[in-house]
Symmetry: C2
């Protein structure tokens, strides 16, 4: 039982090889530099199982409440005033996030409306003068320049800004901190890249990027600005921990949706249903506040812009696609129509996910070749989009303007239902009304009610095929691109097709069918329910359709779920982010925690030799090390707690070592460090191993680890069912889970489980040779 | 270390006194009947800390996944078809819950509208004939009879049906199974008592009772009907576990709100924000389905009733108080008005909570005296309400009907804005328009837009005072009574008062002020945010007011939170239900798990003597016992797992004991029992200790506990911070948490933490004499 020798001896022999585990799992490291470090017999089942190590350059978030004495000390000494300060600051931060995201969302909208509006206006004017080729050149040229700019920003400054960003935010909130995903540079590129991408006429939306933007803003504000760009506020030190950071980023994600769709409640629900992995009611309250601020900001800015003060920015209110006051009486044939619509929509939605996965995998081959290839790919897709948008409307024939309408017909300018295109005066081209518009206006046209005859069925089929295809090939290029708008666009067209076909047998308006079609596609791809429902409600202001929208969402999600996973989950998986699912896999019931904990374990003594710590930090990437108290500090070896790599680095950098192996205690550490020296820095900002400068003579000195040891790590017994260990790990948002032996008389810790140990690939890798199809 | 003696000896000596803990904490039980059971030295800090015991007649829900071999066995053998069956059944149950709750909600509405409508019509007719006294007698008499009936049902059949029911459902979903709170008798009384109470003209609502009704329906269906009333379906055996039951009851609560307010999305959010303590995304999806079913059922039934087919049931659609199409332009003075409204509303709301608490405490003295007193109290309040409703309108003077309105004026019938009351023709009494109406109609009148002059300020003040007071004194009588409607009623009146006063300086409609006032009161009492927001949105169909409603809710909740807790939390606390808060208390950071685990612990051996088990079951109420494997079954004493009281009872009832102390294994148990014999029965339905008939000779035989032992209990080390243990307990929804020793060489289990050990009263009771203001 008492395996560890007397480690009071100062020659360092046997120091790091106690409790049946050793420092190394890599042979070339052993023996060569430190001949005294011997390799013990290990129960290495697999080389993948490097306990505590992160295998990919991804950092997990640690949501444990740091309970060590240092922070306790701080908590006790914190006066009421400070707690009030903390709460006030947190609310202020939420306010700032709301303000920031609201402004950015409005700025995005304003810029897009002006740039795209100008582009479309020029094209229309040239067409009116029958200079068709020049019109195409102007149109495609504008698109190309905007696309190339956006791609260049993305490819050279922040590659992490490409794509939707929702999968990354989702993974971050699950505990996976992918590098530079929330960095200020990403924020910059996301804002301007998104404006470029949307203005360039791509079939993509600004919703995903807005969620990412909101999260970036929250991260930026939450960590007190960027140290890299000298924009730091030190008074935000209280928020330098995982829990507060996570809360703020959830608020940011909600604010993003609220800004993009002008849907405050929808934003809260999106954050709850899709983004967040952990939730508590205080968070609901905080996200609600943030989105309320966004709504107020948007409303004030829209009010300010009323009357053409903001260039081509429209008159639209908070409701983007107002469908209200449409009569919603429906009978049994309507319900059957809706049923069919939902089933087909779910099928088409899951097919969308399937194709998207394939296309993303092929694109990643191109994108990996380097930035120039990314830009070339974007340019190619831009040309393709321009050709479709300009070329396909020629296939449609001109329709005479309907006699008794209030709207202008034909229209030449920026938006409007009836585009003149190549047609003679008094006629309009219905396909051009969809193609030569911003995506928002195209959706508005599709949703418009009382316009049964406006789009003929062939037009809708052509547009549907084009949008479905373009939406697929556009996502994945190096431009910030949301998935909501392409899906809504394709879904609305699909719904209008169904509505037009079923027109003779149903009383529902084709505009309502378009709304239901959009719902079915959203249900089929995103697999969200309540949030999509509320977002659609807030987009259209049509509460009477709520039961039908719910029905369609339920059906399409059920149908699609039987084929594949939701699009964001699929992307998370494809990117290789170690996402922890909310439920344990069934095969985990047949395993115990001890089965997956394997490989060597590095432990420290309560008062450890500096050299050993430096060595451990150098040769491993482990983020936490168990601290074991041994005689004479304890009667028998016992687990004292966990010490984090980042805290070790701070401690070592602060020096203050002792010659003798004696505990210095908390007071000494408190004297040398401020309480917030140990607070978690922003991603990639903490002290690095390279920053340490330990002198040769200090290597043989000792340092007391007790003050920085988290003495209350969560533990499971090695015979605990792996399923239950996974539930524990997931529900508490842990980063490290100590596995302790069941029977006494063995070393006090068997190993540490990390997120990677719960990944199916890891577990299947371990056991595949034992039981193939477990 | 190996303290336990050889327990193979068949005389039973020393059997129950191993590992430093003993069976008893009660001196009179020790020594008298079983002289061989000796008392060991114990570290009893307090007599309250009876480990594993429940001190009040409340059963905690156990959300642990049962991982023992028996269920594993069953899981393995379950074919794909069975899993499909399970999923289909669960969805079918949700469908049935939705259908049931939708029908009950509609039936409630129908009955109330007809009964109350008939009552009001008769009163109005008598008044038209100037027979004022007879009118009062008819009015008060009807109210009194209905009230007495409802109170009698409540007092004699199901006392648990009194009040809102939301606090109880909330506590149940937190893990507190108060007796008969979801029993079929409660369901019955809740449905008919609520109809009686609302029809009797009390200032109470049907919303809380509907939530409770929905939960009862879910419980009834989920446990496969009631065995007591011979309404059992055995094919629901798969759902006899805590997780599925909790899910279904959450769906039921959501369906209740959806049915009461005709607000499906609001229902989902209510379940999420207020009712549920644990949440996972699959549940969102399931509640959404359930409330969608409710919406469809309600819509179909309302459609069916169109055209007067359902007696006095109105024409109303899904939107209860339609406010749409009101123009929402607001400027800075409006915002200031809203700010003031929110602050005052929050203050009045928290004052409401304060008074409610005082009144409930005084009522409980009366109610505890017995059923007749309950009925008398109800009758007294009914008379008071009738006097107010009939008497106070005489204070208001008659107003001439406005000239250019589309509505009928004055009205005599059931509802309507302009009540004739005592006035001459062509005039109306504005106070009677509020008092002599159903609560729903009064709210509709207050919310009505473009009616600035309809109610004079003195009328509103009288009505506000009366409703605020009556709402307070009505809750707590023995009638199912919701709090939403009184709060909305008082809030809307308050809002209208503010709107009328501020009329000259603001452009907002007084009807909109009434809505904002209702929001401020809801925020101030209930402290819900997103759900109230969405419920109000779905009630009024006025999306444009959303930013203002959000603002008011935020302000009023913030103001009220600085005074006291939300009304439901307050009632939960007053009822003494051991509710686990989502966060750990700060003082828990200074304690460790070992501090609160105290008192004696009963452990069983892996193969235990029947007599010892019977003895343990008889003298304690513990719900779980640790099983410790000792030599010769293990090298050293080790914790095998936890065995539940209910499983022990099933095992003992099944007999099959062995003469020798040998493990019989899983196969033997599987042969004798069906897998679902161990499934959790409905509350109060399981085998009781009295049902056991163990023969004298069987007492000395042995039974193998391994097959029914949960071998993966969650454990914490005794030095784990209590705050972190509480987080673990709460987040995983545990019922028992094993505390294991830190150092080896001691018994393998220190104690078991239950819900009661985390209650502040318990902890403060333990430590008050040590450190007073820790």
């Amino acid at each position: 039982m008492d395996q560890s020798g007397d480690i009071e001896t100062s020659d360092g022999g046997g120091m790091l090889e106690r409790n049946g585990s050793s420092f190394y799992d890599d042979k070339d490291l052993v023996g060569a530099r430190e001949p005294l470090l011997r390799k013990r017999t290990m129960n290495t089942t697999s080389q993948i199982a490097i306990v505590g190590a992160n295998l990919c350059p991804v950092e997990s978030l640690d949501y444990e409440i740091v309970e060590n004495d240092l922070f306790k000390q701080d908590w006790r000494s914190r006066k009421r005033v400070q707690i009030f300060q903390y709460i006030t600051l947190k609310w202020t931060l939420c306010l700032l996030i709301g303000l920031g995201t609201g402004f950015v969302g409005f700025f995005n909208n304003l810029a897009v409306e002006n740039i795209a509006g100008f582009k479309l206006l020029q094209t229309s004017n040239l067409m009116l003068e029958r200079r068709f080729f020049e019109a195409f050149v102007a149109f495609a040229g504008c698109n190309l320049i905007l696309a190339a700019l956006a791609a260049a920003l993305c490819a050279y400054i922040a590659p992490a800004a490409a794509g939707s960003g929702i999968p990354e935010v989702k993974a971050y909130l699950n505990g996976v901190d992918a590098p530079s995903i929330l960095a200020p540079s990403t924020l910059f590129v996301k804002i301007f890249g998104s404006i470029g991408g949307v203005s360039a006429g791509f079939v993509l939306g600004k919703e995903g990027p807005m969620v990412h933007t909101g999260s970036c803003i929250a991260f930026f504000l939450g960590q007190g600005g960027s140290r890299k760009y000298h924009l730091t506020w030190t008074w935000l030190r209280y928020f330098k921990n995982d829990r507060d950071r996570r809360d703020l980023i959830t608020c940011g994600a909600a604010a993003g949706v609220a800004a993009a769709f002008r849907a405050p409640v929808g934003g809260v629900l999106f954050a709850l249903e899709e983004a967040a992995s952990w939730w508590r009611s205080a968070l609901l309250w905080r996200t609600f506040f943030t989105t309320a601020v966004v709504a107020v900001v948007l409303r004030a800015l829209i009010e300010f812009c009323r009357g053409g003060k903001c260039g081509l920015f429209g008159e639209g209110g908070l409701i983007m696609f107002d469908l209200s006051a449409s009569v919603a009486t429906y009978s049994v044939p309507d319900l059957i129509a809706v049923l069919v619509l939902g089933i087909l929509g779910g099928f088409l939605g899951s097919l969308y996910n399937f194709f998207l996965d394939k296309i993303l995998r092929s694109y990643s081959v191109i994108n990996e070749k380097g930035a120039p290839y990314k830009i070339l790919l974007t340019i190619a897709i831009s040309l393709l989009t321009s050709c479709c948008a300009y070329g396909l409307p020629w296939l449609a024939k001109c329709t005479p303007c309907p006699a008794n309408i209030q709207e202008q017909c034909p229209t030449i300018g920026r938006s409007g239902n009836f585009k003149n295109f190549q047609c003679p005066p008094g006629h309009y081209n219905d396909l051009a009304s969809l193609f030569l518009n911003t995506n928002d206006d195209a959706i508005r046209n599709l949703f418009s009610k009382g316009t049964y005859d406006e789009f003929c069925i062939s037009t809708l089929f052509i547009f549907f095929a084009a949008v479905y295809f373009l939406g697929l090939v556009t996502y994945g290029i190096a431009v910030p691109s949301g998935l909501f708008i392409p899906v809504i666009l394709a879904g609305a067209t699909y719904g209008r097709i169904v509505g037009t076909i079923l027109g003779p047998i149903t009383d529902l308006d084709t505009g309502l069918f378009a709304l239901l079609g959009a719902a079915s596609f959203l249900g089929g791809t995103m697999r969200m329910t309540v949030s999509v429902c509320v977002i659609l409600l807030e987009l259209t202001n049509d509460l009477l359709m709520l039961p039908l929208v719910m029905l369609v969402l339920l059906i399409s999600k059920t149908v699609a779920d039987s084929f594949n996973k939701g699009v964001y989950d699929q992307i998370v998986k494809m990117k290789g982010l170690p996402y922890m699912e909310a439920h344990a896999e069934p095969y985990m019931r047949n395993l115990v925690a001890g089965d997956v904990v394997s490989g060597p374990l590095i432990t420290f003594s309560g008062v450890e030799k500096v050299g050993n710590i430096v060595q451990a930090l150098r040769i491993t990437g482990h983020n936490a090390f168990p601290v074991v108290n041994e005689p004479p500090f304890a009667d028998a070896p016992e687990l004292c707690g966990l010490v984090l790599r980042s805290h070790l680095l701070v401690l070592l950098k602060g020096k203050g070592f002792t010659k003798e192996r004696v505990p210095t205690g908390v007071v000494e550490v408190l004297r040398r460090f401020g309480a917030f020296d140990f607070a978690k820095p922003g991603s990639g900002k903490g002290i690095k191993f390279e920053d340490l400068h330990i002198l040769e003579e200090e290597m043989d000195m000792y340092v007391d680890l007790h003050p920085i040891t988290n003495t209350s790590p969560y533990t499971v017994v090695e015979t605990m069912s792996l399923a239950k260990a996974a539930v524990l790990f997931r529900e508490l948002g842990l980063r490290h889970l100590c596995v302790v032996p069941k029977t006494p008389g063995r070393p006090p810790i068997v190993g540490i489980l990390t997120r990677h140990d719960f990944m199916p690939e890891h577990i299947l890798g371990l056991f595949l040779h034992v039981e193939p199809h477990k």
